[in-house]
């Protein structure tokens, strides 16, 4: 099975604080990888390192994506190559129309792929279809980006962006946080529809619940900046019962 992303001995810090201390992780094409771990384990830092967030400084190791070393790439270059992160706290950008933003992002991607840009009418047709599928209110696409959206609406808007941009590698950073059961179901359904043999998901979560809806192929447990354990869903059962300490003895 082919590898989508390979992380080798990744060390990274935020400010002066060393957070990742040698992460080794392989994520496969077409698979769903869940990343779990206690607070401060380095889950968010790992995802930030993958997307190239300027706060994170990689001090050692590599991130190999589709066979290319992307460790020092600009964030937008990684995005154009198909890396997408659904943010835990999507930021509000006043005055920037949601639909306009989405079209700009999509056309940047199309340009990168050597495709002609979509005009406003073509794009709106695509957008309307997607928001109908997601059960979003249409007026949300005409509002300013994330401004005044409820927690659930912000998460749905992230999913909408994912559907429009059709990335190859998707990070869902605590997409379940702050969602009620109905919203969680809706988001999970949308993600499941996006599961294809070519797309990889990396789901960062604290809770088991979302993994009942989106069944992971692999579960990785992070602690103290390292991967402590890799396995299947059975790991989650053990975690539920015993907590993270059960993996520490070995």
């Amino acid at each position: 099975m082919s590898t989508m992303m390979k992380i080798e001995n990744l060390h990274a810090k935020i400010g002066d604080k060393q957070i990742l201390k040698g992460i080794d992780l392989k994520m496969l094409k077409g698979k769903v990888h869940a990343i779990m771990g206690p607070n401060g384990a380095g889950k968010s830092t790992l995802s930030k390192a993958i997307v190239g967030h300027p706060d994170v400084e990689v001090t050692e190791g590599k991130i190999i994506y589709k066979g290319k070393d992307i460790t020092n790439w600009e964030p937008e270059e990684r995005a154009l190559e198909g890396i997408f992160m659904a943010f835990q706290h999507p930021v509000e950008i006043p005055g920037v129309n949601n639909a306009y933003f989405l079209r700009t992002a999509l056309n940047a991607k199309r340009k990168h792929l050597g495709l002609p840009p979509l005009n406003a009418a073509e794009f709106l047709r695509l957008l309307k279809e997607k928001i109908k599928e997601l059960g979003m209110r249409e007026e949300m696409i005409h509002r300013s980006l994330n401004e005044g959206f409820s927690g659930g609406e912000k998460k749905l808007n992230e999913i909408l962006q994912m559907e429009i941009l059709e990335p190859d590698f998707v990070i869902l950073d605590e997409i379940d946080s702050g969602l009620d059961i109905d919203a969680l179901k809706k988001v999970s359904e949308a993600i499941n529809k996006m599961r294809t043999p070519d797309r990889t998901f990396m789901i960062i979560t604290h809770y088991r619940k979302i993994l009942d809806y989106i069944e992971p192929d692999f579960v990785h447990v992070l602690k103290n900046g390292k991967v402590l354990k890799t396995g299947g869903i059975e790991i989650v059962d053990a975690l539920e019962k015993e907590g993270y300490k059960i993996f520490e003895e070995a």
Partner: protein
């Protein structure tokens, strides 16, 4: 990390800093009665105009330069400035306009001829001290609209000039207005007759070219009962090490049911990163809503000048009259802007809206200064003010000085102010979606200014957006 890059993006060059080599006639530096007589004679003015100029000059001599604005600059030596510069050739028709000047305007993106004709814009161009060319005059004349240089208006329409000039901005209104009244060189005059809706946008472009020259233009726009006009002005100047003074006066009069839309894109040379060079932009702009239901709208995009001191204002005298002020002011490099408006409510049920967006980057200092005054007679008057500041980086500053005076119990004043920063998180969010950093900055800035940019006439809005991008992005075309 990301912010340093943004800084680099903002550090774009001033594109309009070229100088044109044309033969110019210039008055020797210095200001005296003789200078004023020289200017007046050059313009073949009637005696009464010269008398008014001299009166203003003597009043100015007794006045002091205002220092209350939040700007700092070394003292101005008024005797080192030349108060008159003009292209040497006489200009009678477009064919006679020096091709260098036309090329200069083309470089500025102002095609005087066909392009604008297609766009339906009538243009008056003021090059240093004189008006070079006014297009579309005949067509406008058929409707009774007068659109000409102020010099021509003084010769051809003395009754209108005598009645309205100095009626909104008295010659002794302030130091710079008095100076302008004494030495004003040229500018634009517009008269829209009763009931006429001006069918096209009227535009003036101001260009300071000559060295050591001040520019003192004077604009007067009168909208008679029930008329409408939309007027745009743009400005630029060559890059130079020394500072140049620009002290303009604009007066607007809106009679009953008339509406004047006045838009400015100010792109004078901003000086360098250390504050060397650049235009001192000390401008008095005021509109009088004289009649009932009249309306004056000021929209400005201020990106240039090293110092800006400018408060386009409305006197809301007619009942139910409306004053609006929409402003985007960008200060970067070492620019300082102290700008805002005054809304003086006198008539009943008068309304005013103030939307001010200040953007500061690098060492730019941006101050909003605004007065809302409700006279006792202004029953039922309403004001809404919103002043938002956006900071890029941590060496710049934003300041807000709202003054509210109300002598009327039934008047309502509402004021909101916010200050925000372009955050790393906003930039990163957009970049994570594949949008390049400079496009991301531009997207955030445009979003911030949207409420104001949407008030500009369409093609001017396109120009303003392009200018914002040029100023902030470094995408020199």
């Amino acid at each position: 990390m990301g912010m340093e890059k943004v800084d680099k993006i903002i550090n774009s060059d001033y594109e309009l800093g070229f100088e044109v080599n044309i033969e110019e006639e210039k008055a020797p530096p210095g200001l005296s009665e003789d200078t004023i007589r020289f200017i007046s004679a050059k313009k073949k003015e009637p005696q009464w105009m010269l008398d008014l100029r001299l009166k203003a000059y003597h009043a100015w001599l007794k006045m002091e330069e205002p220092r209350w604005a939040k700007v700092t600059y070394p003292p101005i030596d008024y005797q080192s400035i030349s108060y008159w510069a003009a292209p040497k050739k006489a200009l009678e028709s477009l064919d006679e306009v020096d091709p260098e000047i036309l090329r200069a305007y083309e470089k500025l993106g102002i095609p005087l001829e066909e392009q604008k004709a297609l766009a339906g814009v009538a243009v008056d161009a003021v090059f240093d001290s004189v008006s070079v060319k006014t297009t579309f005059v005949e067509e406008l004349n058929k409707l009774g609209i007068i659109f000409c240089s102020i010099s021509e208006a003084i010769r051809d329409y003395p009754e209108l000039i005598k009645k309205y000039m100095f009626s909104v901005v008295p010659m002794t209104d302030n130091f710079f207005a008095a100076l302008n009244s004494a030495v004003f060189s040229d500018g634009t005059f517009v008269y829209i007759p009763k009931g006429v809706k001006c069918p096209m946008e009227l535009s003036t472009y101001f260009r300071i070219n000559a060295q050591n020259t001040g520019q003192f233009e004077r604009t007067l726009i009168i909208a008679d009962e029930g008329s409408y006009v939309s007027y745009n002005e743009g400005c630029s100047a060559p890059s130079r090490d020394e500072n140049q003074l620009h002290a303009a006066v604009v007066e607007l009069i809106a009679h009953k049911d008339a509406h004047i839309n006045y838009s400015t894109i100010q792109n004078w040379y901003p000086g360098d990163a250390e504050g060397r060079g650049g235009i001192y932009n000390f401008v008095t702009k005021r509109g009088l809503c004289e009649g009932e239901n009249s309306k004056i709208t000021w929209t400005q995009v201020e990106t240039g000048s090293v110092i800006t001191w400018k408060y386009p204002s409305c006197i809301l005298k007619g009942d139910n009259s409306v004053g609006e002020f929409y402003s985007v002011a960008i200060t970067r490099l070492a620019q300082q802007a102290d700008t805002g408006t005054k809304m003086i409510h006198i008539g009943k049920n008068t309304k005013s809206v103030i939307i001010s967006k200040g953007i500061s980057a690098q060492k730019g200092q941006n101050s909003y200064r605004g007065l809302v005054k409700m006279h006792e007679s202004a029953t039922g008057a309403k004001n809404y003010s919103e002043c938002d500041s956006l900071l890029i980086g941590d060496r710049c500053g934003a300041h807000t000085f709202p003054y509210l005076e109300s002598k009327c119990e039934s008047a309502q004043i509402e004021h909101e102010a916010t200050t925000s920063k372009i955050s790393e998180e906003q930039l990163f969010y957009l970049r994570q979606r594949g949008i390049k950093e400079e496009d991301a900055v531009s997207m955030i800035v445009h979003g911030f200014c949207k409420d104001v940019l949407s008030k500009l006439p369409m093609e001017f809005a396109v120009e303003a957006k392009a200018l914002l991008d040029l100023t902030l992005e470094g995408s020199v075309g």
